[in-house]
């Protein structure tokens, strides 16, 4: 009797596991189908992507003949903006993440609340409100305004990511550093920054991906003359996307995946190194103990 029940239970578990995996695969398919179609159409032998006309690698060749000026210019513009926005956001995010965790000051609750605003408020509202301010003051739209827009939604994510990395040990470490005679600046550079490095790296990666893929801010806060790659894609969508755009975005996603793999490899190596150092330290301490005894 007992055995029968456990058998039935086992069979049910097996069945549940099967349906779980099946369900997850369907959801993953929903995410990966558009990506695969996008890659497929970078090999489309047609002037514009409407239907599949046969296989060619021509578009990659065309892309690297660098004759598609608009496309490369838009990519360069996007990349410059993403790099500047990432640097500013991470710098302010590190300072802010540490500062908001460590210090108490009047208005701190308000700033914390404000940090949630760009995360939850629709991007169009944020973009439009900045646009009105810039136009009213008379600030010229262009790269500067796009960078400001991107930073405004990247900084909150950077602060949240970095704040999450600061733990209780951090405070102790900082105090130890100061007790050993380091000043605040030295402590910040040599103790605080290294201890939150994983947080800094993920904040940088997140800021970069948010900026490079942004459409709404980049569209609303841009000058009429120059647009980022996503805005260019939005504008050519009506007339049909050319396969070279698919080729370029395919290369971009491959670079991103490679970058992420590298990042996680670095983080794993760091974790291993730390573990080794801790083990060594413990060994030394135990030898010291035995010497004392």
């Amino acid at each position: 009797m007992m055995k029968q029940i456990s058998n039935r239970k086992l069979r049910r578990q097996k069945r549940n596991r099967f349906f779980g995996a099946l369900y997850a695969s369907i959801i993953y398919a929903l995410f990966y189908i558009p990506v695969l179609v996008m890659i497929q159409f970078s090999f489309n032998d047609a002037k514009r992507n409407y239907s599949w006309e046969g296989f060619t690698t021509m578009w990659y060749g065309k892309l690297f003949s660098f004759r598609n000026h608009d496309l490369w210019e838009a990519l360069a513009y996007s990349l410059i903006i993403a790099v500047i926005a990432t640097i500013i956001s991470v710098a302010i995010g590190v300072l802010g993440g540490v500062g908001l965790k460590k210090f108490e000051f009047r208005g701190k609750r308000f700033i914390n609340l404000m940090l949630y605003v760009p995360i939850v408020v629709p991007e169009i509202v944020l973009a439009v409100s900045m646009l009105i301010i810039f136009m009213t003051i008379g600030i010229k739209l262009g790269m500067g305004t796009i960078v400001i827009g991107h930073c405004t939604f990247c900084i909150p994510y950077a602060v949240v990511t970095i704040k999450g990395r600061i733990s209780g040990d951090n405070e102790t470490l900082q105090e130890a550093s100061m007790d050993l005679g380091a000043n605040r600046l030295q402590t910040f550079w040599r103790v605080t920054i290294p201890s939150i490095m994983p947080g800094i790296l993920s904040a940088a990666f997140l800021s970069f991906t948010l900026s490079i893929d942004d459409v709404i801010m980049s569209n609303m806060l841009a000058s009429a003359r120059q647009s980022t790659l996503p805005v260019l894609i939005l504008s050519v969508n009506r007339t049909g996307v050319t396969p070279d755009i698919n080729a370029l975005t395919t290369i971009m996603v491959l670079v991103m995946v490679a970058g992420m793999l590298l990042l996680s490899a670095v983080q794993r190596a760091r974790a291993k190194k730390e573990a080794r150092e801790i083990a060594e330290m413990e060994k030394r301490i135990s030898t010291m103990h035995s010497m004392v005894e």
Binding site: Y23, A24, L30, F31, I33, P34, V35, V37, M38, F41, N49, Y50, A91, I92, L95, G96, G99, L100, K102, F103, K108, M114, Y116, V117, P118, V120, V121, P122, E123, I124, V125, L126, V128, S129, M130, I132, I133, C151, T152, Y157, V159, V160, T161, L206, D213, V215, I216, M220, L229, P230, I233, L234, N237, V241, I245, T249, M252, V253, V257, M260
Partner: protein
Amino acid sequence: MNGASTAKKRHNRLPAIAQAGPVSLWMILFVTIPMLFIIFISFMTRGSFGGVEYTPTLTSYETLADVIYLNVILKSLRVALVTTVVCLLLGYPFAYYIARKPADVASRLIMLLMIPLWTNSLMRLNAWMLLFQTNGPVNKALLGLGFVEKPVTFLYTDGLVLLGLITNFLPFAVLPMYSSIEKLQTAMLEASADLGAKPSVTFFRVTLPLTFPGIFSAIILTFIPALGTYTITDMLGGGKVLYIGNIIKNQFGTIRNWPLGAALSVLLLLVTALLIFVYSRFAKIEDMEVL
């Protein structure tokens, strides 16, 4: 910590200003002030050559009550609601499946979920368009299987917009729910089962309430962006079907009616504030999973 060091901290304000200063200044300059200004503009008069005349009026809000705008608002709310409900229903079991896997498998599955997000979002939407073209693969399959007599028009319909919204926001619904479910302790579920609760009772009385912060974060991260988007509706709706986002955008482009665009933005702000308020009644804002 002792009193002396606290006192010291209070005296030396420079480190606090240097560290928390830039972020505070940025948020006030580029979030607080613009938000206040857009509320102010929504009560102003539309200038005769575009722009704004600084005479207070409620015209913009009265315009919103017009049938045309009211219909757009109601439709946007309905579409955002459907998107959110579908994302929750599809996303929760998926998040649950990942969260119950061993940690290393789960982190790989989450990575697998993130990779498509690094593909340009507009190109992913474009891929859906290619699949659902009149002579595209979906129509060919439907014709081949004999489900339909002639090709179905999917392009620029509400259905395709909905598909785009759901596939676009589903990952952002899954991530917060995943982190909530992952924190859930198996001991709780075992205790519930040991006390004789059926799996369904455990789910509704233990699992669901404990993962509420994640679910509500998912609602916020799906409903609000879905309500404000204009790119998805522009791409897949072909500009034929108007939503709140499109109308706001148009007021600052071709039409140039800033106060009306501002009033619609204020409406979106109010919806956001309402959702956050409801959330804060049930859970702490700090517990909101935003990543």
